[in-house]
């Protein structure tokens, strides 16, 4: 999955090994192209082709009575409709709101777990954390959603326990599902491992001796953390947050199954537009609005990682 920021960095930092001098230099120039052939077929030809055709559709005119549903045109109506109608802006707001809340929750839990894991002296404890996080992140997403349904349902585990403990009465069971709680809990559960692994990838590069130096100069643990560790962790925090935020705004299954009608996020509306409403051009425009937002955030992540490289003199590795 998982340590995406690490990947971005590896590829950015690498300088390819110079091609060894050879008589068949000309042939060699074509080799990378040949090697990339299959990848190009899938990602450039099909994926990019599909994205471009969807982008073109987003400017077409919707013709509900026509035979092909849409008519060739170049109009910005769908984008304008989405960005000017309060109904759709509200969808964007719900999506943003959930994503921000989840980023906050996973940051708090993820940073603590990630830091503990990276700094732990005990191999077996490290392995335990890693094992728990990895297995929980690889278990089928729908299995985990199903489990949260069992836990949070009206007759579910949590409500039953609360009734049993006498905290709530049987008549006043709390509706966790079909409310925002369900979405927040479910998405946090799914995205927490991403946060942990992404941050661990960057945090492990912080040189421990800097912290030790601060402490030997008389700083206490809290001061060391606030003045040394936290500033050095900033790239880790930023890349973790940006990744979780991007994955958060594209959430689909969790709001569909754990949320109520007002908790549906933009991906759910895109799905409905294509599968039920049938307004393909408008659906395409929505898809591209989501895509642009994600791209914008990913570019932000690149910037963060680059600035980290410039200021990374304390970096041990």
């Amino acid at each position: 999955m998982i340590c995406l920021s690490g990947f971005l960095m590896d590829l950015q930092e690498s300088k390819a090994v110079p091609i060894q001098r050879s008589l068949r230099r000309r042939l060699k120039k074509l080799t990378p192209l040949g090697l990339l052939g299959p990848t190009f077929f899938f990602i450039i030809l099909i994926y990019t082709g599909a994205l471009i055709s969807l982008f073109v559709f987003s400017f077409y005119r919707y013709m509900p009575s026509g035979e092909t549903i849409m008519e060739r045109a170049f109009i910005l109506d769908h984008y304008i409709r989405f960005l000017s109608d309060p109904y759709y802006l509200n969808i964007l707001w719900t999506t943003t709101k959930f994503s921000l809340i989840i980023t906050g929750i996973t940051l708090l839990m993820g940073y603590t777990i990630s830091y503990t894991m990276v700094r732990s002296e005990s191999r077996s404890f490290k392995r335990l954390i890693l094992m728990v996080v990895l297995i929980s992140s690889l278990v089928a997403v729908l299995a985990r959603i199903y489990s949260w349904m069992i836990i949070l349902g009206e007759e579910g585990l949590l409500n039953n326990s609360l009734v049993l403990l006498g905290i709530i009465s049987n008549a006043r069971r709390i509706q966790f599902l079909g409310k925002s709680y369900g979405v927040v809990i479910g998405l946090s559960h799914i995205l927490l491992p991403f946060m942990i692994f992404t941050m661990a990838g960057v945090l492990r590069r912080i040189d421990r001796s800097v912290e030790e130096a601060a402490q030997s100069l008389g700083a206490n643990k809290v001061q060391t953390f606030l003045k040394v560790t936290l500033p050095l962790s900033m790239p880790a925090i930023a890349s973790g947050c940006l990744l979780v935020y991007t994955l958060g705004i594209s959430a689909f299954a969790v709001p569909l199954l754990l949320g109520g009608p007002s908790d549906r996020m933009i991906s759910n509306y895109i799905y409905d537009e294509f599968l039920y409403v049938g307004n393909f051009p408008f659906g395409s425009a929505m898809a591209f609005i989501l895509l642009f937002i994600s791209l914008f955030i990913i570019l932000g992540q690149f910037k963060v990682l680059q600035s980290k490289k410039l200021g990374g003199k304390l970096d041990a590795s």
Binding site: L11, I19, Y47, L51, V132, I150, N160, L192, F197, N220
Partner: protein
């Protein structure tokens, strides 16, 4: 004064430990709940269960759709793993070993299918395939999953390729091995861990995919996640918990098996 400070440190330590333990419990708890539910004798959910039984596991055999879904997912994920592993290894070789124009951009571009919204991927492939008249759902699923899994393989293989010493390959070539032989005898064994990690990721991501599959699936090509999804919406009984428990056991076994080949840190890319 000094001892008050020490108390503060202990408090901080306690709070950190508490968050770590709670966080890990938060991750594990739903998995335990599914397993316990699948062993529950009664159809409604009881916790802790009054009596245990394996009848929900036997019940899976009665529900043909789960078995069919499993078969389709296995078929799709296996072919996808072959496609994306082959493409990914070759792609990583090109990106690590050669310099060419636009390489930096290509690096990030080829990674994009992982980060860009899955629903957008699903929707664009759906419209693209139907405008080309491609209505073979299995084939469409295979292509769609290959697109989103190639980046994982490129990432894990490239990470290993950066590390190892090229001189071994050059030695083999100097001793007269042709490039193909060098690749299979020298390069491939050296990048083995990256290949295994990438292939495993590709398999799991394909087997587990839902958001792209839901656009590409059809009546005779419903993958297991799609079947689980329909079951969840309309009739969630403990048979589903039994199916999920089997998936959990499968994943755990895979991770334990994986540890024989590489450290988990290596697998997730934080070693």
């Amino acid at each position: 004064m000094p001892h008050r400070k020490r108390y503060a440190h202990e408090w901080n330590g306690m709070i950190i430990k508490l968050i770590v333990v709670l966080g890990l419990m938060f991750l594990v708890f739903p998995i335990i709940v599914v397993i316990v539910t699948s062993l529950n004798k009664t159809a409604y959910i009881q916790f802790p269960p009054e009596s245990l039984s394996l009848k929900w596991f036997l019940n899976i055999l009665q529900k043909q759709k789960f078995i069919n879904g499993f078969k389709i997912s296995l078929l799709v994920a296996s072919i996808v793993t072959v496609f994306s592993t082959t493409s990914g290894i070759l792609g990583a070789l090109a990106l690590v070993r050669y310099n060419f124009k636009g390489k930096g951009f290509l690096n990030s571009y080829l990674l994009s299918p992982i980060i860009l919204p899955e629903v957008v991927t699903g929707v664009c492939l759906l419209t693209f395939f139907s405008s080309l008249g491609m209505f073979n759902n299995i084939l469409n699923l295979i292509i769609g999953h290959t697109i989103i899994t190639i980046p994982y393989v490129i990432r894990t293989v490239a990470a290993v390729l950066y590390r190892f010493n090229r001189s071994l390959e050059e030695a083999a070539m100097n001793l007269g091995a042709n490039p193909l032989r060098t690749f299979f005898k020298i390069t491939l064994p050296l990048i083995k861990t990256g290949v295994i990690a990438g292939a495993l990721f590709a398999f799991i991501m394909s087997f587990d995919n839902f958001a792209v599959s839901i656009f590409l699936t059809g009546p005779r090509a419903e993958t297991l996640p799609i079947i689980i999804f329909m079951h969840l919406r309309y009739e969630a009984d403990p048979t589903l918990a039994a199916v999920c428990t089997l998936l959990i056991i499968g994943i755990t076994a895979l991770v334990l098996l994986l540890e024989r080949f590489m450290s988990l840190e290596q697998f997730v890319g934080i070693d």
